[in-house]
């Protein structure tokens, strides 16, 4: 199964993840 997020954000939105990274729910993904 997969979860896909698509969202609008200002251009300075900064992802805090990398491809193939293992994540747990509640962990930071990004912020403006």
């Amino acid at each position: 199964s997969t979860i896909v997020l698509v969202f609008e954000a200002p251009l300075n939105f900064d992802f805090k993840i990398t491809n193939n990274q293992k994540v747990k729910y509640g962990e930071p993904m990004g912020t403006v």
Binding site: T2, I3, L5, V6, E8, A9, V23, Y25
Partner: protein
């Protein structure tokens, strides 16, 4: 000079006779490779994966005799590396069947919700791809794309709009950008999902679709995989404008439950016209808080 020119011509002729068969041969090789992949994809898509998934779901809804619960669920834990120490109920005999174990809850506080970042992970899993959406296309894995318009679905008014303009039309503020992130949940992962931020759900679009595997290997192989599969797209708004969260089903995991949407029922239709969907407008937008448990994937 004459001898030299003749030698150059001869060498060119030899070079041409070498390069033509080589080019032709490699062209044929790559054509066969592509045709072979296409044949395999067509064959794979023809497999009765929905029927298999429904059967698998029914089998796993049947209660197991108590003495079989520990060895059978234990085998699943061993095969897929589930972290049973994180589960709210560690006693395997408590789970009546594998389906119940699959949608297990976690102990409170094993997943603290980050407060410093606006978007947090909605699930336990692996990031397949993330980044800015460009020209109306999303990436399922690096280099393999699918159309945003096909993924979210369109309306009759927007059907003629090209991919780029479709993307632009979603933005509340034209100076913003559209971002995306794909998280893959492996069979052993915790299969409930949570809200990644504070937002308002305004609309649900359910695409009854196929149940192809969403394993990263298959995602690399089948372009537009997420546009074929059964999925539920929730759209609404957050602090910065448009926000959407989609649960995509997979082989043996086509049953999606959303706690604030009891009317939703997935993997029920055997046949469906390609690209068809069912819409549900929430007359009163549903406020969802960051970290709130939103739904679950189930076997079936």
């Amino acid at each position: 000079v004459k001898t030299k020119t003749e030698a150059v011509r001869k060498s060119r002729r030899r070079y041409v006779w070498f390069i033509i068969p080589l080019g032709f041969g490699s062209g044929l090789y790559f054509y066969n490779k592509v045709a072979d992949v296409e044949r395999k994809v067509t064959l794979y898509r023809k497999m009765p994966l929905k029927a298999i998934s429904r059967l698998w779901g029914k089998v796993n809804q049947m209660d197991l005799p108590v003495f079989l619960r520990k060895p059978l669920i234990g085998l699943y834990i061993w095969m897929f590396g589930c972290k049973i120490d994180e589960a709210e109920i560690e006693d395997l005999q408590h789970y009546k069947n594998l389906g119940e174990f699959f949608r297990r809850e976690l102990k409170p506080n094993v997943r603290p919700i980050d407060l410093d970042h606006q978007v947090t992970s909605p699930a336990d899993g692996k990031v397949l791809h993330y980044g800015e959406v460009t020209s109306g296309y999303l990436e399922q894995v690096k280099g393999v794309t699918y159309s945003l318009k096909g993924f979210l679905g369109t309306t009759p008014e927007m059907a003629a709009v090209d991919d780029d303009n479709f993307q632009r039309n979603l933005l509340r503020n034209p100076e913003n950008a559209l971002y995306h992130c794909v998280i893959y949940l492996a069979p052993g992962d915790y299969h409930r999902f949570h809200s990644p931020t504070d937002w308002l759900i305004k609309h649900r679009r359910h695409f009854p679709g196929e149940l192809l595997s969403v394993n990263p290997g298959v995602a690399r192989w089948i372009e537009g995989l997420f546009n074929f599969n059964e999925r539920v797209v929730y759209t609404g708004e957050w602090e910065h404008g448009f926000f959407s969260m989609t649960a995509v089903g997979a082989t043996n995991v086509g049953s999606i439950k959303i706690y604030c949407d009891e009317a939703l029922s997935t993997n029920m239709v055997k046949k469906h016209p390609a690209g068809s969907f069912l819409d549900e407008e929430f007359k009163i937008a549903v406020p969802i808080m960051k970290g709130q448990m939103l739904g679950e994937f189930n076997l079936g």
